[in-house]
Symmetry: D2
Subunit: 346 residues, 4 copies
């Protein structure tokens, strides 16, 4: 596999699986287990999440982040409704219309916001003009925030709380796309509970794939009334695994001994270190504050030429004339990787 | 995991993963690989399938059988269309409306047929009265057959060819749900090509999960023109894996050294042996010919009482008064399992 | 218009509009009126229906019977749900998948039944095996009955009540397709209330088009809680009329002075007279009891040849070898029409 | 009907039906006519449109503007696709998600543009970054323009041609929402052909309701290949009228003797006259050029207070602090209406 010799800053989903999660798949591979979640491991995942989030909850494993997002949203979004989200949100930019599909034709209402974040003010203004109750307009139904954001920035619990207050005032559900929830949890000085249900989040896509799992996410319902029809929606989406134990084994290993926080902390530290190095390059700029495991940088044209010819995997961000790139650190990024990248950039 | 001590005849999806497939996941876990199928293993799967099916084709890994079926069907089924299938078909009975969902509201037109099989005659009669071209009626768009069927029986290449002829005459696509394709291929005295494209199949759900994989199927397009929009549909269904290499690794190992046929052959032999034993029980009857890895048996009431109290996992089939059960042999079913089951039944 | 010289027994929707309803359109055509139902006539329709049905209710005009049916059903049918109906139901046979479309992929579960009617027993048996609560199966969500049925027969209030009891026991909504509700109400010896909410109907498609209107139906909610999201669903279906007053004017005129019952009574009497005549033809048979305005007859082959060459408009029913035809009487059918038809048939 | 005494500038859909169209309904009300478009009038509509547009075409009557738009768009918009349109487009602002519904979950991609118009430049820039061919992104599939626009402005044939060139370069369909097509055709110095197919339009919603019909629009396909599946989509949307002759009668009368252009010319002249008067009010401003039958005006606060207390029906436009209102002239607007309105405004 020649890609293995490249230096990956393209995405945390280009990283491999942690040894502990791989081992857990082997451990789960003993004898028979009833399918579709009627196995002991699936129950354990829910118990571990209850303990981590310090509350009762319902949790459902799925294999992809898009599935987690759109199944969770579909509970809150009637086909004549709209989800309010940032215009850079993954559900808008990178899911090929999956939210519209799973809601039977609902809409995303897009809002601008600095550093990839929705502000309570912008939301409030948009909702006051949204035509709630007027039959011609898609009805405001939910708000979705991404934590950590697509720009690698973070919402504080206070910011989430302010958004949640608006959601409650307008009778909307609050969804959190936590594809990089671990990176946020590792970076913020608060508990997982503080970032979620205590701040008013109803449904969370709790990601693991980008942080060392093979293909595993959990849809977590803090508002358990909303979970009632989830299992039917998961099944009809084709997302109910027959051999569920192997999804659950990944999540179990991930949640054991704070491993999920440890791998995320490492990725965050690598990104932070990288950001410091880039900051010192002449004519280079950081596009957003580096608060999790992603660095957006604006680089001189000649540096971009060099980078494109190198062994480094990365993605440009936005139109070419902006000269911006995205660099993502993963659980397996090494200081040596950064050194090699910087050798190209300097 | 206490279920591991039970004797599994409930389903082949309650079986574990073969050691070779598990090992392949470890082998794939080296360094970084670009996501979404841009890894070397995914290309290899397609090459192996071309060799097995002796033709050019396009193949797309997904994780569940329902996803494979409904994504494949969605290509052939406009929202105002109907798929003709057996009334016992998995797509009708066990997918919670997924085909209707993925086609945007298409219909399944249900037909009866002996031993879980569609007959060319029944199809022909139904299609002649279907109102093709008449605006009030859902338009016949595709036929779906299951191979091996939900009743554990098989279509011969000739039977598939006769159905395909009808499909062609009416301008319909032909889909094969091959969740247990390996069991059929192992049992029939013909090549995979004979059972599929040579007999007129356009799209095949090529199953692996029930035959020893963790969660991996391939949607195989023999009619490659139909594949054009598949990738967009997979993505918007939430079925595009970021770390695709782990799906592909399973399929690669599965397709190597005829392993897929060996595990299926074993399961078939176990079912066949079991059927022979049940045939000899007084007052027991086999409901369908046992041609693959599934046994349907009608048992005396007092035997069912004993079975229900035993360590054997199984499912009743149909209403209780029929006294029918389904017993499925898996790649890991042993002669000892059968002996223990028979000790309860005798 | 040469068709005007033909004798119409093809359908009650090939008949023209009653003079009173046409005049009402002219009366409504004075000055401006706010659109989308914010006009006085629309409120009047609801008041008249309350009086006719002797209860509080909510009523929404739409222009087609398919729209009425599928919008009403969409309220009761989640995308993972199933409506139980007769296999000859209009929603199955003649709406090109509209119920599946409007519910976002729900299913119709088809049942057999004598004379086009569901029986409580058949329903009960089907529902007991439907897998309610089991994630693999579409969830039973509603029952739909057609009154008068597609076979021209009638449910008695007692029969509807027995079906409603089953609906309630299983937590399902009860929908009535009343495209020919007037014909049923005119024929049955009971009040509109007895046939609907008193017998447990939740939502009624109250038809007018087939009985002398131009294009007007009302979706009537006896269970008003279910009406909450109706208006959004009507709008997104494209069925909210801007100049609603012209829909409402039709319904108003229709409901005034028992006109709706008078035109239906006439059509029923014509059908009944026709049935008596056909009964006396040698080798002719009535296929179903003639209880409303439709006659199904099995005729000798040589008579069918004569009929096909005549000026009579009609439809064959089912495959040609059955020799069955459908004859529908309308509000404007005359004794002379029947005489001319009989002259061909005798 | 007390609203009849008010002075309507709220909407052209609050106006009544022209006497000629009303009379045509009576003329059509003779004898029986086969349903669903198999009547002579429906064919005549298509012939008249061919003559007006000087080309072969296919035309399908429907009753509402939303139905016309979303059925036409659904042909060009796969469920994983996106329609590029102005952020003020009716399909985005006023159809409660109908385009998403009818396309099975497609998206609208919103663009800004002066005076309610898309510019070729903006489109070109957006499409170059849309990710065509990339599986994560909704695929650009069509462009929709409104003529006359929601701001009461007009595209010149040249502007449409420039947009069409971009559509062709990117392989997209071009849809025109012509709810007020007559107002545009009456105002522009070119033929209907110049504004549509000669400039590259594939599908047109040809409106009549806002310009004096009761409830009638035609979906016109210049690209007839695209019409193949239209009738099935119309039926499953519940938009196929059984008594179609009454839709067609409206359109026939509308298209006879240039009536459609005469009523539109009148409305345009009334709006133009009104705009001249408003221009002369101190502190009043016209928000957009008045090119068709709509006037957007920014008025002093004390004038708005007076207006709100008057007998004039109108709608505010945008947030209250903008002090903007929309005034629409209709086929039946009189000089006296304008005088009365101006008496309030002055």
């Amino acid at each position: 596999m020649t890609q293995a010799t490249k230096i990956n800053f393209a995405s945390d989903n280009a990283a491999p699986v942690t040894p502990e999660i791989l081992a857990a798949l082997g451990d789960a591979n003993m004898g028979s287990a009833l399918g579709y979640g009627n196995d002991p491991l699936t129950g354990e995942v829910e118990e571990k999440l209850k303990s981590i989030f310090e509350c009762d909850l319902m949790a459902f494993p799925v294999a992809t982040g898009t599935a987690a997002n759109v199944l969770g949203l579909s509970i809150m979004l009637p086909p004549y409704g709209a989800v309010y989200c940032h215009q850079l949100a993954h559900i808008e930019q990178d899911e090929c219309g999956a939210p519209e599909f799973y809601s039977g034709g609902g809409k995303l209402a897009l809002l601008a916001g600095d550093e990839g974040k929705l502000s309570a003010d912008t939301l409030s203004r948009a909702l006051s003009q949204a035509g709630a109750g007027v039959v011609h307009h898609a009805q405001p139904s939910a708000i979705s925030v991404t934590q950590a954001t697509e720009c690698g920035t973070l919402y504080s619990p206070g910011e989430i709380g302010a958004i949640s207050e608006i959601a409650k005032r307008h009778g909307l559900g609050l969804h959190m796309d936590g594809a990089r929830f671990a990176n946020a949890a590792a970076a913020l000085d608060c508990t997982p509970a503080d970032m979620t249900w205590r701040a008013g989040v109803d449904v969370l896509s709790f990601g693991a794939t980008k942080n060392g799992a093979m293909a595993a996410e959990a849809v977590v319902f803090f508002d358990m009334e909303k979970a009632r029809e989830f299992e039917f929606r998961r099944k009809r989406g084709g997302h109910l695994f027959s051999k569920m134990r192997y999804l659950s084994a990944q999540l179990n290993a991930y949640l054991t001994n704070d491993r999920w926080l440890k791998t995320a902390t490492h990725a965050n530290e690598m990104a932070s270190g990288l950001a410091g190095e880039i900051f010192n390059i002449a004519d280079a700029e950081l596009v957003y504050p580096v608060e999790a495991n992603i660095v957006f940088a604006r680089l001189p044209a000649h540096v971009l030429v060099r980078l494109a010819a190198s062994d480094v995997l990365y993605y440009p961000s936005g139109p070419a004339e902006n000269r911006e790139i995205r660099l993502v650190a993963s659980w397996n990024t090494t200081a040596d990787d950064i050194e090699k990248l910087m050798a190209v950039l300097r």
